[in-house]
Amino acid sequence: MTEWLTATETARRIAAGELTAVKAVDAYLARIAKHDGELGAYLAVDAEGARAQAASIDAARAASAPLGPLAGVPIALKDVLVTRGLATTAASQILGGWIPPYDGTAVQKLRNAGAVILGKLNCDEFAMGSSTENSAYKKTKNPWDGSRVPGGSSGGSSSAVAAALCSASLGTDTGGSIRQPAAFCGCVGIKPTYGRVSRWGVVAFASSLDQVGPLARSVADAALLLEVICGFDPHDSTSLDEPVPDFRKALTGDIAGLRVGIPAEYFAGAIDDEVRSAVQRAAAILQEKGAELVDISLPHTELALPAYYVVAPAEASSNLARYDGIRFGKAAEGARDLLDLYQRSRGQGFGPEVKRRIMVGTYALRSGYYDAYYKKAQQIRALIKRDFDKAWQHVDVVLTPTTPTAAFRFGSKSSPVDMYLADVFTLSCNLAGLPGISVPCGFTTDGLPIGAQLLGKPLDEATLLRTAHVIESAVGLADRRPKGLA
């Protein structure tokens, strides 16, 4: 069974000639054919394209040509990453049937590193949601319990990785959309510092918050993928021109003297007892390995939710103005005039949550309301960032639960605001632009994964990965697999 290998090990075996890229791809395609009908992680599988890419990797190796760090590793992508020649829908009807004429930068970087693209993964429509229930196309199940959601919005990414329907995947994270599904499915998920990974060729949701990042079955795999996709891109004006460290070298196991902040605000209130104790055990592990635990306060934490739900819909309402039924996507039939075409195409093409957010964003940005909403929310962001800046004077990383509870059941969040509360611990990281990682740290008595979240200083992904790796090694859950999928 090569499908459960880490991406790191798959790459090593292919480079060493112990496994061919074609065999690796065929193994995943067979597994997708067997399990994805039930799981629903994929929106599109590119069997032909993946086999052709794999064959060219094997040919390159046979010719002793240099191989990239991901040569032959089968990767799948959240369907908001634009892929040349491969349908990209953002899980929305309005983009149904769109075949992009180009690859986004992160996708290009994966291809240049030799990765084989297996297909596109389900998500909430335009990445708006916390359960993947907002997909216009299908429901994705949590591999650990089919009656529960895989998280969202990158729920196809977390489900496919946890069930070994790909070696690793990419997702996007605007308010927790990598870390929350990673926690719900027992994967490692990292959101890099804002600006680390180019947003060029990523279907835009909220441009000041969106970042691309990997979901993987090990911290080492996440480090490997992150290293490949980071880097300056002149096509993205917010891209950071900073050197990309060798993230894999950060996994030394040495955290002696590391100062770990424990923010009171993340351990109080509506949080499940099993989640709280699992994260407290992770803290104890770090202490045993030589880290120092420091009690801290991030006093503006409770404002993250209202600030986020102004900023994100405001930016979304502006970004989604491009779906007008004219340049790409679906157009309504029989429109009377241009305005009617816009209104009907958008009314038919967008689902309920996307419409809600466009309406909220339009409300907040309309003339006379800007100062009271968007500007105010951006000022709250500055206060949230200031909380963290103060914390960095005393600590190197912050440890919190990734989510207040483990994965919830389908249909269990009765109102939009109820659903928004699922992201309450992950939003500050995006608002402050910081890097954050979720790493599995335990299971509930019902057998559901629990994630610990580490937040770091800007550009300090290396310390997050090093710390997460220590938790991963000590809890020893890497070999635990979902029942019926092992």
Binding site: W98, I99, P100, P101, T193, Y194, G195, S208, P234, S237, T238, L240, E302, L303, P306, Y309, V310, S317, D324, I326, R327, F328, G329, A331, R336, D337, L338, L339, L341, Q343, R344, R346, G347, Q348, F350, P352, K355, R356, I358, M359, T362, Y363, R366, A372, K375, K376, A377, Q378, Q379, I380, R381, A382, L383, K385, R386, S415, P416, V417, G433, P458
Partner: protein, 98 residues
């Protein structure tokens, strides 16, 4: 919980270029009311601070003004629902035009 006036929902939908069915408008009055109610927490906060723009200080960069290769026009319009050669086809701009 506050319910938004129907007229206000209709005005926002027009600004958003979004056609909503009558039942969607009724639902939106309640749901938007609840979401906006959540925002009142913001107004109470003293925010004597500059709005945040980026996590890492970033200077505006300008690219050299040099043409670069780009998508051929035919490929750029390929995905359009209505097209003619290199052009997007749009319906009448003014109401009543044909």
């Amino acid at each position: 919980m506050p319910i938004l006036p129907r007229k206000e929902v209709e005005e926002i939908a027009l600004l958003a270029r979004l056609h909503l069915e009558p039942d969607e408008i009724e639902k939106m009055r309640v749901e938007l009311g609840a979401i906006l109610d959540h925002f009142t927490a913001l107004a109470a906060v003293d925010t004597d601070v500059a709005p945040m723009t980026h996590a890492v200080p970033l200077e505006l960069r300008l690219r050299p003004d040099v043409p670069e290769p780009s998508l051929p026009a035919e490929e750029a319009v390929r995905a359009a629902p209505a097209k003619e050669g290199q052009f997007f086809v749009v319906p009448a701009i003014l109401p009543g035009d044909s």
